[in-house]
C-alpha cells in the first residue's frame, strides 16, 4: 500500500491497471471479515472511518470492532445487521488498483448482488470450511458464470476451525470441481484461508505448509486480465451522433460510442448495421488529438469517409468480413429480477447495447 510519502510515485500510479472484483457467499461465511482484513492489512482504512466504525460497534453492543460496518452504509443495514445492497470499496497496492463490489448474500437481494457482480473481472466466493459447498455457493458461482465473469476464486474460509487440515480443503475442492463443469468459467482457483486470523490473506500461512499456492492478495494482484476483452470481433454500437460547426471543423459529423470488441483503425473498411452500407474509417478523434487505433473499453468518436450514410443511435458499426448474425427470432435465457411475476407472452422492452427494441 501507498504508505509513506517516499513510497508514492505518480508515474507508477498512472501505470497501474484496474481489477474489479466481487465477493459473494452465504451469510456468516466471513465476507466482511475478509474484506475488513484486506483493507486493514493494506492500510486502506482511514482513521476517521475506523473511529466511526468503532463508535458504531460500541453503540450496537459489539465488544470487537465490527468491520462489516465499513461497508454496510445504510441505516437499515446497520439496524438489521445485514447487507441489503452492494457497497463499493476502493484500495490500491503498488501493483494494482482494486474496486470491490461487496454484495449481499440474502436471496431476496439477488438483483443487487447481480448489479455488483456484473462489472467484475473476478468473483470471490467464500465457503465455510465446516459446511463445505452449499446451495448458495453453487448459486453464486452459477450467477458469476451467467454474467460472463472470467475468473473465479473459491476461498475456503475458517480453516482455523478445522485444524487447518488438508483433507478438508481437498474434499471441498473436489466437490466444487464436479459442479464447476457446468460453468462457463475457465479460470477457477482455490485458496484455503482464515479471514479472522489472517492465514493466506495477505501473508502466507505457516499453519498450512501443505498449501503451495498463492495468497489471496497475491492472486488478486497477479490474475491475468489483459486478455479478458475480445480484440477479434469488431463491434462498435453507436451511442450518439455528434455534429458541430466550427471554423476548423465545418460540418463535423462523428459517431460516439464505446468499442465493445475488436480494434478499429483509420482506413479500416466498415459496414453499418442494420442498413448494410459500407464505408471506411476516416479518423478516430478526441479533444486531445487523433488516435491511431481504438479498442475496448474505449469511448471514442469515429469519423467515417462517407458522411451521408444514415446512422443513428442503436446502429452497430462492424467489419464486413466479421459480421454478427441478424435475426428476429432469438432463443435466450431470461433472468427475472422483479418481485412481480413475468407474464408469458407479455410485451417487454429490451436493451441491447444502445438499442431499445420491444419484444
Amino acid at each position: 500500500m501507498i504508505d509513506t510519502i517516499n513510497e508514492f510515485s505518480t508515474a507508477d500510479y498512472l501505470n497501474m491497471d484496474l481489477l474489479r472484483f466481487t465477493t459473494a457467499g452465504s451469510v456468516d461465511d466471513g465476507k466482511s471479515t475478509l474484506i475488513g482484513r484486506l483493507l486493514h492489512d493494506t492500510k486502506s482504512i482511514f482513521e476517521d472511518q475506523l473511529i466511526a466504525v468503532e463508535q458504531a460497534s460500541k453503540k450496537m453492543g459489539d465488544h470487537q470492532v465490527n468491520l462489516a460496518l465499513l461497508t454496510d452504509g445504510l441505516r437499515a443495514e446497520r439496524e438489521q445487521g445485514i447487507t441489503i445492497d452492494v457497497a463499493y470499496r476502493y484500495f490500491a497496492t503498488p501493483k494494482r488498483k482494486f474496486i470491490i463490489a461487496d454484495t449481499p448474500g440474502h436471496i431476496q437481494y439477488t438483483r443487487n448482488m447481480v448489479t455488483g457482480a456484473s462489472t467484475a473481472n473476478l468473483a470471490v466466493v467464500l465457503v465455510d470450511a465446516r459446511h463445505g459447498v452449499v446451495e448458495q455457493t453453487r448459486r453464486h458461482a452459477f450467477i458469476a458464470s451467467l454474467l460472463q465473469i472470467k475468473h473465479l476464486l473459491i476461498c475456503i474460509n475458517k480453516m482455523d476451525l478445522v485444524e487447518y487440515k488438508e483433507e478438508v480443503f481437498n474434499d471441498i475442492r473436489e466437490d466444487f470441481d464436479d459442479f464447476s463443469s457446468k460453468l462457463e468459467i475457465q479460470d477457477i482457483q482455490y485458496i484455503p484461508i482464515s479471514a479472522l486470523k489472517g492465514d493466506n490473506v495477505v501473508e502466507k500461512s505457516t499453519n498450512m505448509p501443505w498449501y503451495q499456492g498463492s495468497t489471496f492478495l497475491y492472486t488478486l494482484e497477479n490474475v491475468h486480465i489483459a486478455s479478458d476483452y475480445n480484440l477479434v470481433d469488431c463491434r462498435f454500437p453507436v451511442q450518439m451522433v455528434i455534429q458541430a460547426q466550427s471554423e476548423d471543423q465545418p460540418g463535423f459529423k462523428g459517431y460516439a460510442g464505446k468499442i465493445e470488441g475488436g480494434i478499429f483503425k483509420p482506413g479500416d473498411e466498415v459496414i453499418a448495421l442494420p442498413s448494410g452500407f459500407t464505408t471506411k474509417v476516416k479518423s478516430i478523434d478526441t479533444m486531445n488529438g487523433l488516435m491511431d487505433e481504438a479498442f475496448p473499453p474505449q469511448s471514442v468518436l469515429m469519423n467515417l469517409e462517407d458522411d451521408h450514410i444514415d446512422i443513428s443511435r442503436g446502429d452497430m458499426i462492424v467489419k464486413p468480413n466479421n459480421q454478427p448474425q441478424i435475426g428476429q427470432d432469438i432463443e435466450m435465457m431470461v433472468c427475472w429480477l422483479n418481485e412481480k411475476q413475468m407474464v408469458l407472452g407479455g410485451k417487454y422492452a429490451i436493451r441491447h447495447t444502445t438499442k431499445m427494441p420491444n419484444a
Partner: protein, 301 residues
C-alpha cells in the same frame, strides 16, 4: 502494460465519458450540477471530452448558498465564459426569502441541508430530468451504495432500499413524468484519482486548494474560515494560519487543513499520506452517523 490495455485512470475516464453520452442520449433535459469544487471541475472537463467538437449540450447549475468563497465564484464565472456554456444560479437566499426554506438557528447555521429545497425547486422549475452530480463512492458510506443512474421519485427522494438493477454498462433511464435521475459519472473515482487526473490533464482549479494565509477558527477538529457567516464563540480565537481546503463547499462547514502545498504534486503527496478522509473536514457529515443518507433521501446532491 499490454498494448491493448488501459491504465485504471484511463478506464475511469472512458467510463465517465460513456455515462455522460448515455445521459445526453436518453434524457430530454439534463443539467450538470456545478459547485466550483474539484469534482465538478473534472466533470466539466469530461463533458467537454464526451461531446467534443460540439459544445457541452446542457447547462451548468450552481446551487448558491450565498456563503461562498469569493474565489470559487470568480473561478466559476471565468470557466463558464471560456466554455461558452449556459450557467443557471439557483439561490438558497431566494428560497429563504420566499419562505420555502428556513434558516437554521444556532451559532453555526449551515445552509447545507436547505440547499436541497433550492435544488429540487430548480429541477422542477426548469423541468430537468437528469442532474449530473460529482459524488464519488469513496467519499462516504451512503454514497458507496448508490447507482450511476440513481432514480428520484416525484418528490425528488431516493429510496436506497429499493434501487434498480444496473447491469454491465446498460443504464436504464426510464421514468414516470415528474421523476428524475441523479447521475454520478465519477462514482468509481477516488480522491487520489481526481487529483491525478487534474495533474495529467493540467486542469486549472481555484487557488484556495493551494496553501494560503487565512484567518481561521479551530472548531470540531478542523479549521473554519473566518467569515461574516460564522459566529466566533466564547473560548474560540481567530488566528492566522497557512492552510488549504481539501474540499470546497459552503463556507460554514468546509474545514481547512494546515498545509504548505503550493503545487498539484504537493497536494498529491499530501493526499497519499492522509490518514483522514476528505470529508473528515466537513462538519455537515459529522452531525450524525447517517447524516449523509438522511440528506440524500430527501433529495440532496
Amino acid at each position: 502494460m499490454h498494448k491493448y490495455h488501459l491504465s485504471h485512470l484511463k478506464q475511469l475516464e472512458n467510463e465517465a465519458v460513456f455515462i455522460m453520452r448515455e445521459v445526453a442520449s436518453q434524457f430530454e433535459k439534463p443539467v450538470l450540477l456545478f459547485s466550483g469544487g474539484k469534482d465538478s471541475i473534472v466533470m466539466v472537463r469530461l463533458a467537454q471530452k464526451a461531446f467534443w467538437p460540439a459544445k457541452i449540450p446542457f447547462p451548468l447549475m450552481h446551487i448558491d448558498t450565498g456563503h461562498n468563497f469569493e474565489e470559487t465564484i470568480e473561478f466559476r464565472d471565468n470557466l463558464v465564459e471560456e466554455l461558452g456554456a449556459e450557467l443557471i444560479v439557483a439561490s438558497v437566499q431566494q428560497s429563504i426569502d420566499e419562505g420555502k426554506a428556513v434558516e437554521e438557528k444556532g451559532p453555526n447555521p449551515s445552509r447545507n441541508k436547505i440547499q436541497t429545497v433550492t435544488l429540487l425547486d430548480a429541477i422542477e422549475k426548469h423541468k430537468f430530468d437528469a442532474a449530473f452530480g460529482g459524488g464519488r463512492r469513496d467519499e462516504e458510506k451512503a454514497r458507496a451504495k448508490e447507482r450511476f443512474f440513481s432514480h428520484r421519485d416525484e418528490f425528488g427522494q431516493w429510496d436506497p432500499k429499493n434501487q434498480r438493477p444496473e447491469l454491465w454498462n446498460l443504464f436504464n433511464g426510464k421514468k414516470h413524468i415528474g421523476e428524475h435521475f441523479r447521475v454520478f459519472p465519477l462514482s468509481n473515482w477516488t480522491e487520489m484519482d481526481v487529483w491525478q487526473y487534474i495533474a495529467i490533464e493540467h486542469i486549472p482549479i481555484p487557488h484556495i486548494y493551494y496553501t494560503h494565509e487565512r484567518e481561521v477558527v479551530r472548531r470540531d477538529g478542523s479549521y473554519l474560515a473566518n467569515s461574516p457567516f460564522i459566529t466566533v464563540m466564547e473560548g474560540e480565537k481567530v488566528e492566522k494560519k497557512m492552510i488549504r481546503f481539501r474540499t470546497i463547499g459552503d463556507m460554514t462547514c468546509t474545514g481547512a487543513v494546515e498545509s504548505s502545498a503550493n503545487k498539484i504534486e504537493d497536494i498529491i503527496l499530501e493526499v497519499a499520506a492522509a490518514r483522514e478522509t476528505e470529508r473528515g473536514t466537513r462538519t455537515d457529515d459529522k452531525r450524525s452517523e447517517s447524516a449523509m443518507e438522511d440528506r440524500k433521501k430527501e433529495g440532496y446532491f
